[in-house]
């Protein structure tokens, strides 16, 4: 069976045919299945945002084809429109796109554009607000009167309300404090578990990617450099370094410990897990009498 989203030999250049032409995406092919949870990482300017803007036809590929649900999205106006609703794209700093009088109305903007009836719109707004963690008491206040983190959630809810088969989030945790970050990542994981929708998470943060996703795509200079499981990608520490990326600090510590001959696993991505492993290691050594 074909993957839900399939892009074939896609390239995209900004300011094509001028002196300042930038080849942001070069001959990329990839497929993402229904329900998959994928992380996309890459250095600043590597073309991540450009790549995801091709997923729902916000940008038209200079070369190559994008298929959503088996259909070429650029075939006609209708397929393009459908792709916007099937692939929900949420940009970096989405809070700056809020515009309605109330949060409720703003979340309803997407479903309204889908020409759904009022009851369905209302149902979707409530569900999306709940999924994104928008507090019910905030639904009827102006989106400009809530805090930055709450705005972010309201904006994400606005995309979730379209109930897309695939949700793409570009740097959803940018500019949040560590607590806000982990809460948001947790929310996204929950969203995927509860709705079964595919999720693509674009991020700089290896920690976030490791915590939330199963498959990681590494983009470098507009090309796919690595594509595979989290373990597979993080095992390529040197390659990642040459692309200006770093694996999580804890993971580095564990790789080093292993080199030194300690019996530790290489796939440690979070501090919590590290603490567990190290305590049990220490206890074992104590009981060994060393």
């Amino acid at each position: 069976m074909n993957p839900f989203l399939e892009i074939k030999n896609v390239s995209y250049s900004y300011m094509k045919n001028t002196a300042q032409q930038v080849n942001a995406v070069n001959n990329v092919s990839l497929g993402i299945d229904r329900g998959e949870m994928v992380g996309i990482i890459g250095h600043t300017g590597s073309g991540k945002s450009t790549l995801v803007s091709l997923f729902n036809g916000l940008l038209k590929p200079s070369l190559g084809t994008v298929y959503v649900d088996g259909k070429d999205i650029w075939e006609n106006k209708e397929t393009l429109r459908e792709s916007r609703f099937n692939v929900g794209l949420c940009f970096q700093y989405p809070e700056y796109q809020l515009f309605e009088e109330t949060v409720r109305k703003d979340i309803a903007f997407g479903p309204k554009n889908m020409k759904l009836d009022d009851a369905e719109i209302e149902r979707r707004v409530l569900r999306a607000a709940e999924l994104a963690g928008v507090k019910p008491k905030h639904l009827d206040v102006s989106p400009f009167d809530i805090s930055g983190g709450e705005k972010r959630r309201a904006a994400i809810a606005g995309v979730m309300a379209m109930e897309p088969d695939m949700l793409v989030l570009d740097e959803p945790a940018a500019g949040l404090d560590p607590r806000g970050r982990s809460d948001l990542i947790e929310m996204i994981k929950q969203y995927r578990e509860r709705t079964g929708s595919a999720v693509v998470l674009v991020s700089h943060s290896m920690e976030d990617i490791a915590r939330a996703t199963e498959r990681v795509i590494v983009i470098n200079n507009g090309e796919i450099a690595l594509d595979g499981s989290v373990d597979y990608v993080f095992a390529h520490e040197e390659e990642l370094k040459s692309m200006g990326l770093n694996i999580p600090e804890v993971t580095k510590v564990f790789h080093r410990l292993k080199e030194l001959g300690f019996d530790v696993p290489p796939d440690v991505y979070s501090v919590d897990r590290a603490v567990d492993i190290l305590t049990s290691l220490a206890e074992r050594r104590k009981s060994d009498g060393k």
Binding site: R84, G88, F91, Y96, Q97, F109, G110, N113, V159
Partner: protein, 271 residues
């Protein structure tokens, strides 16, 4: 796309024109625009055209860029040409049909007006091609500084202008970003009648205003933090001093103006 619009287009270079004093460039451009309208026959206009070609060559701005600046006024050119050909009558008749007549005077006027407009456009775009927006406002500030005696805060005005110019590309980028975000939520900006389209702009316009105000506040705060009060008494990093080349340009322009006046007197009026 929105980003195709170029404002205050500056073309990087290091020609005589690029290095010239912005005050002189501003004043001379202004003066020569008036001279365009002093031209009364093809001889004086030809002299001016030759002058513009010389200046273009000196500026080292590629011809392609010059043509690009003429492109937006092509419609206006076509329109004036048609109006002049059909509505100005006199001299020999080349062509007549029903109530429409094409005469010598009509054709001459059309050609004359077209050349005038082209010179006008090329001249003003040469100014923006060779002068950065900051230099322009600096120059303008200095030229307008005598207005201080009327209690007009020239330095604040100049600062506002500099900031406005600085933020045009930022706002264009912002518009593009907001448009993409709303399109991703299925906003349809391209179809429907006038009212539907106007309504479709609301989701773009409101976030744009909000972010423009936010930026303005942040900028004001940042400027206050660095002790900006108003421009009075500020000294400049780049001092403006007239150089030999500036005087040469001034003299050249005076000579051209004199030439235009002389040619106007000696040859028959066309327009």
């Amino acid at each position: 796309m929105v980003s195709d619009i170029t404002f205050g287009q500056y073309y990087h270079g290091n020609s005589v024109l690029h290095r010239a004093d912005p005050r002189i460039k501003l004043i001379l451009t202004f003066a020569m625009i008036i001279v365009i309208f002093l031209c009364k026959n093809f001889f004086s206009l030809g002299l001016l055209a030759a002058f513009i070609i010389l200046v273009t060559l000196l500026s080292k701005v590629p011809v392609r860029m010059i043509l690009k600046s003429i492109k937006p006024v092509l419609i206006i050119l076509a329109f004036t040409a048609i109006l002049n050909i059909f509505y100005t009558h006199g001299g020999r008749t080349y062509f007549e049909w029903w109530k429409i007549a094409v005469t010598e005077k009509g054709v001459n006027t059309a050609v004359f007006t077209i050349i005038r407009i082209i010179i006008l456009v090329v001249m003003s775009s040469l100014l923006t091609y060779t002068t950065t927006p900051t230099m322009l406002t600096d120059g303008l500030e200095r030229i307008l500084s005598p207005l201080k005696i009327f209690h007009i805060k020239v330095s604040s005005l100049a600062m506002m202008m500099t900031l406005a110019l600085r933020f045009i590309p930022t706002l264009i980028e912002e518009i593009e970003r907001i448009m993409n975000a709303q399109k991703a939520r299925g906003a349809d900006l391209e179809s429907g009648g006038l009212i539907t389209r106007a309504k479709a702009l609301v989701p773009i316009f409101i976030p744009l205003m909000v972010s423009a105000f936010r930026r303005a506040y942040e900028l004001a705060l940042a400027m206050t933090c660095r002790c900006y009060t108003d421009g009075n008494g500020r000294t400049r990093m780049k001092q403006m001093k007239l150089k030999i080349t500036d005087y040469v340009m001034l003299i050249l322009c005076i000579a051209i103006t004199a030439g235009v006046i002389v040619l106007n007197i000696f040859f028959e009026k066309v327009i």
